[in-house]
């Protein structure tokens, strides 16, 4: 009986396996689900969902299936606009928007209206998400004002008391459809490994022990060595702000993966291109700058240099003195990047823009020339190639 449900989960983009389905059957056979649909929901969830990011999707599919509304699968795939729902942190309301909410009769009314709009959108089937999106300046943009109070999954607020658990969809903002998880990135980064023995000697060095014992006339002389650790050193320079805002997520993932993967990781931020200084803390970037020369002097040339940036800017910002958009730079960026590249022979540039678009931007071409073509797309395949280059 669960096979259609299982198929729906798969169609809905969940990676549930047959093993897990069998476990669910086994559990039901042992009477765990009882005769209560809530229990069954909990059991199915603990068995079939293995990532909190998928809980919301599971809830939606569960609701859809057990209402017998298989058609609504269609809008499971079609996300409610992300920027509208998820950027709660960025949303701040102007007074007139707040007034608008009040004029709509507060949040209850607002949400009813929203539900109506969503339903209408269902019947339209095309461009639906955009339709709601244009409501951004309308009271619906106000969602961020009180994100806790809203349950999209709820079918009308009149039967609130009878709301099903899965209809609450409390895990809403955890859903991620980004395929590139940090695990993949870490596995790619693992290519860049250089083992060295350092630290406390806690492993038996068998060869040396045999050798020393033999020389010692048979008296045991135990030799220890430190365990091997990844000793690769990485200097990460990240472009931040401006056109990079579109790529914040992937850069964050890349950054957090790199942080746990490399013991010796130093990072600096820059805006658009490298000039005479970079910074470590974006909140205090005017006050606490580090001179690029100091960086080059402080970190030895065995560091691997990785730039992350879209390299999309006006070519003047690279080639001319005073070309920076933020300050007057005495020397062109090209000179500074050359200096860094001379210090660090192992260097790559990772570009979050898709490779197909590189040719259309003159500055990308320029940067590629400066980097001797060592520019790779910020994808798993690109990282893989890049790490090979760094090795």
């Amino acid at each position: 009986m669960l096979i259609p449900f299982f198929c729906m989960l798969r169609d809905g983009g969940m990676k549930t396996s047959i093993t897990e389905l069998l476990v669910l059957h086994e559990a039901m056979q042992k009477g765990l689900a009882g005769h209560n649909v809530d229990d069954f929901y909990f059991l199915a969830r603990t068995t079939l969902v293995k990532d909190e990011a998928h809980l919301d999707r599971f809830d939606r599919i569960f609701a859809a299936y057990f209402k017998g509304v298989e058609d609504s699968l269609k809008d499971l795939m079609q996300e409610i606009p992300e920027d509208w729902l998820q950027r709660q942190a960025e949303l701040s309301l102007s007074d007139e928007e707040k007034a608008l909410i009040e004029s709509m009769g507060g949040f209850e009314e607002l949400m009813k209206a929203l539900q109506a709009r969503l339903d209408e959108q269902d019947s339209r089937h095309e461009g639906g998400s955009k339709w709601i999106g244009t409501a951004g300046t309308s009271p619906f943009g106000a969602y961020g004002y009180n994100p806790e109070g809203v349950r999209i999954g709820q079918q009308g607020s009149r039967n609130r008391s009878a709301t099903k658990v899965w209809d609450k969809r409390e895990y809403r903002n955890l859903d991620d459809s980004v395929e590139l998880g940090t695990r993949n990135i870490k596995v790619a980064l693992r290519r860049l490994r250089k083992f060295a023995r350092e630290g406390a000697a806690d492993q038996l060095d068998l060869n040396d022990t045999i050798d020393k014992t033999a020389r010692n006339g048979g008296m045991l002389d135990i030799r220890m060595v430190p365990e091997r650790h990844n000793a690769v050193k990485v200097l990460l320079c990240l472009d931040i702000g401006g056109s990079m805002d579109d790529h914040v997520r992937i850069c964050e993932e890349m950054f957090s993966a790199a942080r746990t993967e490399f013991k010796h990781l130093e990072y600096f931020y820059f805006h658009n291109f490298i000039y005479e200084s970079m910074w470590k803390d974006n909140r205090r970037r005017q006050a606490e700058k580090t001179a690029t020369l100091d960086i080059a002097h402080k970190y030895a040339s065995d560091y691997k240099l990785v730039f992350v940036g879209d390299a999309t800017m006006s070519p003047y910002e690279i080639a001319y003195a005073g070309g920076s958009v933020e300050h007057w730079n005495e020397e062109p960026g090209a000179v500074w990047i050359k200096r860094l590249l001379n210090t660090y022979p192992k260097a790559i540039w990772l570009n979050p823009e898709p490779k197909a678009r590189w040719d259309y931007t003159p500055s990308v071409k320029l940067v590629r020339e400066l980097m001797d073509d060592r520019m790779y797309p910020l994808t798993i395949a690109g990282l893989d190639e890049g790490m090979k280059e760094l090795h």
């Binding site: 396996s17 765990l32 909990f42 293995k50 909190e52 695990r183 746990t260």
Partner: protein
């Protein structure tokens, strides 16, 4: 078959979905993976499960240097070499130098034990993969003695993760999964009640209000969690702070007393103070 059911204990409030996940794991004898914000009682769960079902508990705390092998057993070759020099008789039996790890100990237990593998995400990224077979079949092979160790009673395995690293799919498929979501105000009141029975209603509700207000501050690096709330209430009681001091109406922009127990990060404290300051300036009352 185990017919006892876990329903939470006198000192641990378990929600319905959590009890279901634990009972499924107990009944089907499969590991359960618990994730959630730090301080929501993940580790505590294993302790409470063991306590309420009356089973022995084995705790294996994972560090960044922990290897999967260490949970099974370690062969102390150095000690054996030394003993051979001293002519100790022990040296003829290699089994004397095999030191069982936590997993082995749990496998050998007389009654069905609870095995806690705490913070599995701290270890190397391959660590969970190295334990697949052991957790699946509940047995492993000791190469030095050519002996197969299999569990006398399949232990109830509780695994916790803080999400520092993602876990491999193959590993996840073998586990039940539960994400402890942050408790809502009602559940939180129950939790506090379990820890501080007889706490004055007024203080509790004021404390919870203040707590959730702090949690709602945007951009905090580490939001205060259940364990911080409990610590804070302990302090409030110790200092005998009256509930009025926490009330937001008469001091709407005041920093809650002893907030150091809630915010553990210097930047968060800074941010919080700034917000309060701004609030005060915008709403002079």
């Amino acid at each position: 078959m185990a017919n006892e059911r876990f329903t939470g204990t006198s000192s641990y409030i378990a929600t319905d979905d959590l009890t279901m996940a634990v009972n499924a794991a107990v009944t089907l004898e499969r590991p359960i993976l618990i994730k959630g914000e730090p301080g929501t009682g993940k580790t505590q769960l294993a302790i409470e499960v063991a306590k309420s079902l009356g089973k022995p508990l084995f705790e294996w705390h994972i560090k960044s240097t922990t290897k999967a092998q260490q949970g099974l057993y370690e062969y102390d070759a150095v000690a054996r070499l030394r003993d051979s020099q001293l002519g100790d008789d022990k040296v003829h039996d290699i089994a004397n130098y095999i030191l069982p790890g936590k997993v082995w100990e749990a496998f050998e237990a007389e009654t069905q034990p609870v095995l806690l593998i705490d913070e599995i995400d701290k270890a190397d990224i391959e660590f969970p993969n190295d334990l697949l077979q052991e957790l699946d079949r509940m047995e492993f092979f000791v190469y030095e003695t050519k002996k197969l160790v299999s569990a006398r009673n399949r232990p109830i395995i509780v695994i916790t993760s803080n999400n520092e690293k993602e876990l491999p799919d193959a590993f996840l498929r073998r586990c039940f999964f539960h994400y402890i979501k942050f408790p809502d105000q009602d559940t939180m009141a129950k939790i506090v009640d379990v820890h501080f029975p007889g706490l004055k209603k007024a203080l509790l509700s004021e404390a919870l209000n203040a707590f959730y207000k702090v949690r709602d501050v945007r951009g905090l690096k580490k939001k205060p969690s259940t364990s911080e709330l409990l610590d804070w209430i302990k302090l409030l009681l110790a200092e005998d702070i009256p509930p009025e001091a926490l009330r937001s109406e008469n001091a709407r922009s005041a920093i809650p007393p002893l907030y150091g127990a809630l915010l553990k990060n210097e930047q968060d404290v800074h941010l919080f103070e700034q917000l309060v300051f701004l609030d005060r300036r915008n709403n002079p009352s």
